[in-house]
């Protein structure tokens, strides 16, 4: 029997068709992957199923029952539960309070937390969702927060769980644990819809896969009868090289040197005695779970945060007190981890975004007057050179897809003839096709003798690109690896476990 059956779903936003006549059915008790690139329409489809959007056309059946229009609260009644990519939790409240919000057990006008807590403990135990019901959300890890989200759905007696890109924020170990939880849920008869763009995870966990591309359903296949390569082809519409080839290359002279860099941070973990050297023609990878000081390192290196101690040398020159502008002039390019907050002015047209940081320099400006023709020509050149898919230059950067926004940033940064490229999460939220392209570009830069500092949370990316990898944990480097990048070991290191044995708790 089908737990969920969507027939001919079409959803338009203005003139944009997000879902085009999609058929999608999920059998009861299976783990069904909804696979597709960013903007393929996965989230839209699931939001329709959960009643957050209403479809323009099409039919929804849940457990065989036809439903015309749906609100989220009705969807919950039909046994649906959605775990959003961005958690919907109240930081200051406890786990229990978050789980029961909207479903409080009230006795004599007071909330009966005890009974609720008991129920949550039962659920935790049954599905191995380890979390302290009394802990405050702000004090628990991202992985635990996700478990709270799952608990929320289970508490509402969800039979069909929709998980939207759940692994994006997890370490490899946490992902393993999540998959175990998913297996447990499945063996208890729950149905799981798993939205993702990661092929490896799809192959590992799912029973069946539905692939979406450009708002259309491409195919639904049995996982056991397919391969990662085939799924990639279905997703992108052409053959994709999943692995990049890297030439052996002897790195050159030291270009960037960071000595004893420390930063006290009131919100994050800060940095403690960071030392690193990047050589010409070398890619140095920084591995770590998000929030372990990568962001602080990135911003301090660019002069966006002021360090409390330590020095930064670039080309033998002390640049610790340089402004961001001066560092850029010296030849440091920066692909920022937060492309919307840092990398783009989404209200500006594409051509203006290409000159961010160079708006006073020739040939883009002369004596403070912008040279529009030169800016336009340059923009056209970059679009062609970096294969940015846009209907034109006079498009607001905010209207481009995530992958093309990222390509635009990379185009701008790599075209400024830098010597060092600080690439922070360069492929985050970018689809498979663009990832391949960006990886090749970075390798090309390496071949040209540029130094690259690659900060990433994607182990696969680090392993295939880096010459060396430093593992950052709670603001400190806890290990350095050369050549031998064992996934299991790196994963454990990222979780703060030195040498995979000792359990270091800070």
């Amino acid at each position: 029997m089908n737990a969920v059956e969507l027939k001919g779903i079409t959803k338009k936003f203005g003139d944009v068709i997000a879902n085009d006549n999609i058929d999608f059915s999920v059998k009861k008790g299976e783990i069904h992957c909804l696979l597709g690139e960013n903007g393929a329409g996965k989230s839209t489809l699931m939001k329709i199923l959960f009643g957050l959007y209403s479809q323009n056309q099409g039919q929804i059946k849940i457990n065989g029952q036809e439903i015309n229009s749906l609100t989220p609260s009705e969807a919950i009644k039909y046994g649906l539960g959605m775990i959003h990519q961005h958690f919907m939790l109240v930081d200051r409240l406890s786990v229990t309070e978050n789980v029961i919000a909207g479903r409080e057990i009230v006795r004599k006008g007071l909330i009966d937390l005890k009974t609720a807590e008991k129920r949550i403990k039962e659920l935790s135990k049954k599905y191995n969702l380890k979390v302290d019901p009394r802990a405050r959300i702000e004090n628990i890890s991202v992985g635990e927060q996700q478990r709270v989200e799952i608990l929320k759905a289970l508490y509402r007696e969800a039979e069909i769980l929709i998980l939207d890109e759940p692994t994006a924020v997890l370490t490899p170990q946490e992902t393993e644990e999540l998959f175990q939880i998913m297996e447990d849920l499945k063996s208890d008869g729950k149905t799981i819809i798993f939205i993702t763009h990661k092929l490896k995870e799809t192959m590992k966990i799912s029973d069946r896969v539905t692939v979406l591309r450009d708002g259309k359903e491409v195919d639904t296949v049995k996982t056991s009868g397919t391969s990662a390569e085939e799924l990639a082809r279905l997703m992108v519409g052409r053959d994709v090289v999943l692995r990049v080839d890297k030439d052996e290359k002897e790195p050159g002279k030291d270009l960037l040197e960071i000595r004893d860099l420390s930063l006290n941070s009131s919100y994050g973990c800060g940095l403690k005695d960071i030392d690193l050297t990047v050589k010409k023609g070398e890619i140095l990878g920084i591995a770590g779970v998000e929030g372990n000081g990568q962001h602080e390192l990135e911003e301090t290196l660019m002069g966006l945060l002021k360090p409390d101690a330590g020095e930064i040398y670039f080309k033998g020159q002390k640049v610790t007190t340089f402004t961001t502008d001066q560092r850029r002039q010296q030849g440091i390019a920066h692909i920022p981890s937060d492309r919307l907050k840092r990398g783009l002015v989404s209200q500006f047209n594409l051509d203006w975004n290409f000159i961010l940081g160079s708006e006073w320099k020739e040939p883009f400006a002369k004596k403070g007057i912008l040279k529009k023709k030169n800016i336009k020509d340059y923009g056209e050149k970059l679009i062609k050179e970096f294969d940015i898919r846009t209907p034109g230059l006079q498009i607001k950067a905010g209207q481009l897809s995530g992958g093309n926004q990222q390509k635009a940033i990379i185009a701008r940064e790599l075209s400024s003839t830098p010597d060092l490229i600080l690439a922070a999460q360069p492929t985050r939220g970018v689809d498979v096709g663009a990832i391949e392209y960006i990886h090749n570009l970075l390798l090309e830069m390496r071949a040209k003798g540029k130094a690259i500092l690659l900060i990433s949370a994607e182990l696969d990316e680090l392993r295939s690109l880096s010459d060396r990898i430093l593992v950052i944990y709670e603001g400190q480097f806890i290990a350095e690896k050369k050549d031998d990048f064992d996934e299991q070991e790196l994963g454990l290191l990222m979780a703060g476990k030195k040498d995979g044995e000792r359990n270091e708790t800070a």
Partner: protein, 359 residues
């Protein structure tokens, strides 16, 4: 690809067209609701609207009255728009305008014996500088201490209005029914365009400043930096733009334009500084900028609309005895509907078409 290009260019046109349509609908709804109020208070709608139109565009005299009201609103609207585009809400235009006016009056009185070609520009410049200084203060406070410009500019308005009154009463007062300075001489007076008419050539200065503002934001590196700070401070920082400097500069430029509003009023319309002379041009400027969505060219049209409503409202009161306050209500509603575009979208949904949720 080519097809996609066409679609997008059509969409883009639609977007700006739909903006204009939304604004027009907002104005029409405001006028209709204004009519409802007029009826509710027992006045004749036809008479009211007749005088409203006749008093604003019905004759050369009416038109001159409209332009007289429009001129300071162009300056004030531009001043607010410059702030908005740079990410700042300058509510202090009113205060900057007062200091601009007083500075022009004081300098104008000193330069009265110089030839017009020297005296007039210097007198205008004095107003711009004074307004710029008054804008510098909140800009500096914001950049260096983080004090929010909304709070500081509101308070500086009070200081400016009372401060200029104090200065006038104690140092520059001449005999007269109100507290005012002496009359300015011909060489620092902005003449009329038409002989005998009241169309001050201040409107020409306003349009020049408007063109300069447009140029600043579309064709200069400084304008680029200001807008980057305004749209995405994080990206500005990332791109090496000195946000503090831009914040201060934006407030100085905005204040200077506001100061010019004061200069033009006292050098044209009034011929001298009169205490408490502004009926709130600085605040109406906020409405003008909002209606124009900070587009300099649209500021001209929005200022014209508000100017016409002012002029027409006066004639409505004068000839039909309908209180001018109703005009204030209509102006307020225009802003309400423009500021709440969702409201009009809601209306279009109720009237039939079901639109998709916007992502």
């Amino acid at each position: 690809m080519k097809q996609l290009k066409e679609i997008i260019s059509k969409l883009k046109k639609l977007e700006s067209v739909s903006n204009i349509i939304y604004s027009l609908i907002a104005i029409i709804i405001a006028l209709i609701l204004g009519a409802v109020f007029i009826i509710a208070f027992g006045y004749d709608v036809k008479t009211a609207f007749y005088h409203l139109f006749n008093g604003s565009f019905g004759s050369l005299y009416s038109l001159s009255q409209t332009l007289l009201q429009t001129t300071p609103l162009i300056f004030a609207g531009l001043a607010v728009a410059i702030g908005f585009k740079s990410g700042l809400f300058n509510i202090g235009v009113e205060g900057q305008l007062y200091w601009g006016a007083l500075a022009s009056a004081v300098i104008g009185l000193r330069l009265g014996s110089f030839p017009l070609t020297v005296a007039l520009p210097l007198t205008l410049l004095a107003g711009a500088i004074a307004g710029g200084i008054w804008g510098f203060i909140p800009g500096f406070l914001k950049a260096k201490t983080g004090a929010h410009e909304v709070i500081t500019t509101i308070m500086l308005n009070e200081i400016a209005i009372l401060g200029t009154t104090f200065m006038t009463v104690h140092y520059f007062k001449v005999e007269g029914p109100v507290d005012q300075t002496a009359r300015l001489s011909e060489s620092v007076t902005i003449a009329s365009i038409l002989p005998g008419g009241q169309i001050s050539s201040g409107i020409i200065i306003a349009i020049i400043v408007l063109i300069l503002t447009y140029f600043l934001f579309n064709n200069t590196s400084l304008g680029y930096d200001l807008q980057t700070v305004g749209n995405n401070p994080g990206a500005a920082e990332y791109g090496g733009i000195n946000s503090d400097k831009m914040t201060i500069l934006a407030m100085v430029i905005s204040g200077a334009v506001a100061g010019l509003a004061g200069s033009v009023i006292i050098m044209g319309q009034l011929g001298r500084f009169v205490t408490n002379f502004s009926p709130g041009y600085g605040f109406t400027g906020i409405a003008v900028a909002v209606l124009a969505r900070n587009n300099p060219v649209a500021v001209l049209l929005a200022a014209l609309l508000f100017g016409a409503l002012e002029a027409g409202g006066m004639s409505m009161q004068l000839f039909a005895g309908i209180p001018n306050d109703l005009i204030g209500i209509i102006q307020g509603m225009v802003i309400l509907f423009v500021a709440a575009p969702g409201f009009i979208k809601l209306l279009s949904r109720i009237t039939g078409r079901k639109t998709g949720e916007l992502l």
